[in-house]
């Protein structure tokens, strides 16, 4: 990724900072993965203990809303890549469209989650009703909380649009927030497949 470097640091420093933030970001993603891995372990245990799934005669969640969620978050990730390409080619317009669309589709994702939760209510999948709805709610709440974190991170990218200032610090920020954002999308995909589809 090329960038206009404002401070007079050697290119070794720049590469160094980039590598440092890559390593740190990898560790952050490993940590977050372990949280979700523990949740999936719990899911595996409950699933193994109950030969019939969903247990207790509960209904499966209709796939429409979860699929819409998957679509929203996927498009959001795509727009983030569009935003990144805009940053690389110094196109203010592309950056603006990219970032705002990323944000927009993230909000649509969250909106679809709320709709999902109220649909689950209407088919009798209350939180207190058992292990099956407990799992669905816990996974989606925790994931949504992380999306909230991600949205806050996206706000830290706004300076790029206004000042037009490019620095290697902003380079790294965009790459790393992107990694986190795509990571959240990947986690959602796994949740979608494991909890809703299969």
């Amino acid at each position: 990724m090329t960038s206009l470097v404002k401070e007079s640091f050697s290119s070794r420093q720049v590469e160094g900072h980039k590598l440092v933030s890559s390593i740190a970001m990898a560790l952050v993603l490993i940590s977050f993965s372990m949280l979700f891995a523990a949740l999936f372990l719990g899911y595996a245990v409950y699933r193994m203990q109950n030969p019939v799934w969903p247990p207790m005669g509960m209904q499966r969640v209709p796939l429409t809303l979860p699929s819409i969620s998957t679509l929203m978050i996927g498009i959001s990730s795509l727009f983030y890549v569009y935003f990144q390409k805009g940053y690389e080619s110094f196109s203010k317009k592309q950056m603006k469209i990219g970032l705002f669309s990323t944000f927009l589709f993230a909000l649509l994702f969250v909106g679809s989650q709320f709709l999902l939760w109220s649909e689950m209510h209407s088919i009798g999948l209350f939180v207190e009703a058992g292990v099956f709805p407990s799992l669905l709610y816990a996974f989606t709440w925790i994931h949504a909380a992380h999306i909230g974190l991600g949205l806050i991170c996206l706000l830290f990218l706004l300076p790029v649009l206004s000042s037009g200032e490019l620095s290697f610090k902003m380079d790294n920020r965009i790459i790393n927030i992107g990694k986190f954002w795509h990571f959240l999308g990947l986690i959602w995909l796994i949740i979608y497949l494991v909890l809703f589809v299969f």
Binding site: V20, M34, S134, A138
Partner: protein, 574 residues
Amino acid sequence: MAFFEQHIHDEPKTFLSKYIISFDHKVIAKQFLWYGIFFLAVGGIMALMIRWTLAFPGEAFPIIGTLLFPETGGVVPPDTYAMLFTMHGTIMIFYAITPILIGAFGNYCIPVMIGARDMVFPTLNMLSFWLATLSAAILLFSMFTPLGGAAGGWTSYPTLSTLIGSPGVGQTLWTLAIFVLGISSTMGAINYITTIITLRAPGMGYFDMPLTVWGLWLTAILNAIFLPVLGAGCLLLTFDRVFGTQFFLAGAAATSGSGDPVLFQHVFWIFGHPEVYILILPAWGIVSDLLSFFARKPAFGAKATALAMTSITVLSTLVYGHHMFTTQMSPLLTQTFMTLTMTISIPSAIFFANWLGTIYKGSINFATPMLFSLGVVFVFGLGGLTGLHLGTVTTDLYLHDTYFVVGHFHYTMAASVLLGGFAGVYFWMPKLFGTMLNEFWGKVHFWITMLGLNGVFMGMMVVGYAGMHRRIYDPFVYDFLQRLIPINTFITWSAIFMGLGQIPFVINFVHSVFWGKKAEANPWQVGTLEWTQPSPTPHYNFKEIPIVRCGPHEYGNPNLPAGRDFQYQTEEIV
């Protein structure tokens, strides 16, 4: 080779930026040190209250008893007792040991020992401390809620820790406090790992790092990987308590369907077992280094020690089931966990061989840090060996949940880590605060602590083998435990003795911090990078980033000129 060079910041000027909101790893280290010592005192007083109740049931706790428990005339009531042992465990593990060994020593030692000017993420570092403070505030607050703080043991097993067993908000706040602390520690862990990978000075390969840094690095790796697992467990428990999910509810607790309380135990111990290694690895590292420094001899098998620490790090992730033998897991799981637990004795034996090999044919200076390091070898020997009794399934069926377990983990966690931590404080005092701790009072501190400690924890193992179960308010309800009253009294007096022995340390410490004589740059004649700089370490650490030319244990080289018996890491080996 460092990935980039950190520039030298101006020295902070205001009181706020110097001591409160500081980005300097040395200041943050000191903040964690004060924090940890404060909670060590709180946890220690709780321990004394527990011991008092066990040795003198029905008698008011001295001095502060009537103040705290007016309704019972100063006697600790049973539900408060439960809260006391829960908080004692939680505070000692998360709010005393973690801040002192990992927060304070990790923060101080890592940058100066690898030749860096600060941690790679100073802001994250500062946030880590303030999040830990927030967590402490939540925990302390939880103890004053109407139904009291968490009282289900620090392990907080459901369904006792769900609403049916713990109806108050105290347990929920406890879980929240642990979750916040987990975030703080994970931030710290990421900072430490990245700093060690990316900011080592030119010439410092991984095996040129002092073993202290190895210990801290491996601890950080375990923290980063396994704290989120605890986080997941805490989240699910909180959901059960607050939103009515059914993860861990069964029996009368479950409103519908059935969750699995034992699942919490699995999730907890997947974190919990690595956690105990997280707590001891820094101490192992410090001791391995200090034994070499004070025996004026290279660390015997230093590379092997580093590799042994690494292999224990890996093995520790595979053995958690030995905490759950009595839950009747499948025979295959049970036997697998037992066999894997046995393998941990191999790297541990390597440590002992290397520690003893280090002092063999050395020239030992028995300064206070060395006394404490030798103390660690002694107590960890006892503690580690009794782990064998507990890792073996059949003996564990008798010993589980008795004081034998309490004695074992206090020997390994409390005794070893505490002695290692004290060794570190006495050793790095000149670098941290620019003064030396008084040697005479240091030795007094050591001997009282050692005697008291052995009395307490050996006594516990003895009564545990004799059948005394743990977490029991009045063991003498049981006829078969009546004969243990004298030994319990002995343990309590030992604990009081040990507690009193900490007073010289606190006075010594506070006096030295504020009114101590200025220390020279290298009073212990040690060659790691921090000793190449003046005492206390200047705010920029290193004016010029040092170039490392040899390892950290260059002592006793016969080619050295007369009058010198060590080399700085910046010198070529003669």
